[in-house]
Amino acid sequence: MNIRIVALYLVLVATPGLGQESREPAQSAAERAAMLDTLQRGKPIKGSREQYRHLPEVFAVARGAKETPQEAIARIGAADGQLLEIKGRLALFRSARQKAASVEGIGGSAVYPVVLNSRTGTLGVLTGTLVVKPKSMADAALIANSRGLEKGKEYPQLQTVFYRVKVGADIADAAAALQTDPRIESAYPEIIEYVRLPK
């Protein structure tokens, strides 16, 4: 726990939970639920244990070390974006435009698609990484080649390979394709739904 005295009163009275999984603009549960209802729903996406829906008008961008969320959003040309939530370094915002569930490169920065947990109503960020357990680790490269994926790091002790979906490619489609691949035991897109904070 790491608090500064200037924030002590607020921390202890208004927001005494000294570590949150995410922070967002002040908003009641009802207001948040109403806001979520206004968001367009896109493709369904199966995660590791939950079901999600893509939100085509919601995106995330990673903040620089000393950058505010608004500055990060403006940096990628979305200055009119409405900040919805902050998950650690990631600023989630609503934009006037809609896009497929693909990672986009803008000005050297990655812009990530966002999904909604259908059960809990929590927002999650699709990183463009797929977490895959091949039936045989020897197939790791072949799977990448046949699916148009970039093979990332292998973890033999976990019988797991990480793949990157190429920029512009639809993550939901890539994950769905792997989930029916007979060479694969399990596959799901990485979704950052909760970030750990100091406790």
Partner: protein, 670 residues
Amino acid sequence: MKTRLGAALLIAAACLAGCGYGGASAPGFTIGGTVSGLTGTGLELRNNGAGNLPIGANGAFAFAAGVLVGSSYSVTVFAQPSGQTCTVTSGSGTVGSANVTTVNVTCVNGFSIATASDPLALQQWHLRNTGQAAFADSGGVAGMDINVDPVFSGFGFAGVGVTVAVVDSGLEIAHEDLAANVVPGGSWNFLNGTTDPTNTATDGDHGTSVAGLIAMARNSVGGIGVAPSARLKGFNFLSSTQTEQIFIDSLGGSTANPNSSDVFVFNQSFGISPTNDILIDPMDEAQYLAGVTSLRGGKGALYVKAAGNGFLDMGVRGNCAAANATQSVVSGTFTGLSCENANFDPHNTLPYQIVTGAINASGVRASYSTAGSAIWVSAPGGEFGRNAALDPGFISLVYSPAMVTTDQSGCAIGDSTNTVNNGSAFDNGGAPNAACNYRNGMNGTSSATPVTVGTIALILEANPALTWRDVKHILASTARQIDAARAAVNIALTGGIYVAEPAWLTNAAGFKFHNWYGFGLVDASAAVNLARTYPLGQLGTFANTGLISSGAINIAIPDNSVTGSAPSTLTVPTNPVHVIEAVQISVTATHPAIGDLGIELKSPSNTTSVLKNIRDGFAGSANLSGMVLLSNAFYGENPAGVWTIKVVDGSGVNTTAGTLTGWSIRIYGH
């Protein structure tokens, strides 16, 4: 008896001819062995309480007086050498048919906090609590510490040879009080791909403060860590985007760039505070399992984790039930029920973790420390360490000690600066912190976690052969019961009084447990002493029962009723687990305000544990969908037999009844 005498005569006769007595005047056989590590003067040994033997140098020794066959011997240190502490191992037994040469005397340069040259050590109450104020306004209660001084002075253990990872926001590897212990090139910065995770933030680095509590060096500056010679690695996981790969790479799953696979103990002073039930990511669970299975040459790494800081409230989106939302360290209102439960963070529900709660300098739960049955032990985390003159208006608790530890170096950055009011003279760069390299306001279960990690480093130095389960067992077996008179929290519901938070219990295996403290306050001296003589292999093979499920049951949970749901039972077979190490349950229920619900579980030995208290931070969420909860309260019991779950609606915010639709149980143990 005749046989033994006969044999002794034969052996003695034979030895007259050839094997000697170790001295012409000594009947029987000599007792001796080897002295090592001796640098001081004045060491004297005794055998069977007599026959002082001065020792002047390392090497072999033997008492002149012999001991008869079949007689016992017991070698002890009669006088310690100057500036050192010597201990005897293999020092007792029964004389057989030869001279005894296996007694080991090991001498180390012991030290004491009381005489440490590190100037802040005397204010580090968690090491040696004398009632000092630790640069706050008031002190705590003498003796409420981790009892580590006997480990330092008696054994000289300091965490030598033990590598610890601070998985956190960063690690200032060049800090004057940490640099000596940092593994060169062993850390990792996930933001720039280098081995320097020094945080570029200017408003403090949580990881650097955590690291100090583990391993501030004995170097005549600053303070000292619980394990002041442990080796440190830093992985700035919290400052990263926290992808799954970074998680795995930080917690033992990577052998290069970074190498986390050589880490003995992982410090996890972090967590999440969800306001609805969430399920653990299967990859996270798989990595923890891999870590305890394969690291440390198969003995398993130790994963130590913060319970959380949500006892009073859970923050912006926290929906602590109204009846429990009045708690405040400002007004001094406390209901005794935790808003956050340690089981909310799914990582805390794994048996591979050592979940740590925090106590303050008075030896009771720190005001913020999240409670729950997933807690294993407690350790000092402190309160707020403020000075009323600089930060008036709070209750006295705020002006009691926090933790004295490292801060980002210099007065321009960090939690201690001389540019703004940080709430204490010490943190404002006052003496003896003019260089602002330290702070006195660190607290949280973030602080209790590294204190536990440091203790484990001492345990592993004392006995490197221990497995991760041995270490957990030692901590549980030696933890000190504190706040023993703490009464249960009773809430009036329809039909009677409901025990919403039980008092200390003693389970059927004799372990004392409390949801605020786990098995109690870490006792480093008791733990190290047990570690030194611990019989390896006593815990057997780790196994679990698999999930034993109720199927659909649909049992009503009446609103605001002490009766709760009608009991639902599951039967655990006699195999494969005979001794419990952890119990997990998975619960599915419908209710519009899950925070109303309390969940308790009764073992076949009639131990009852509350795994989720009523009126908690799930008040704004509906339904449980297979939420996993863990209890350590049944540790050591036999799991075979009937387990009973009961769900009580504590009427926090909602007047609707609910339904327990199903549950399952899994027992871990041996």
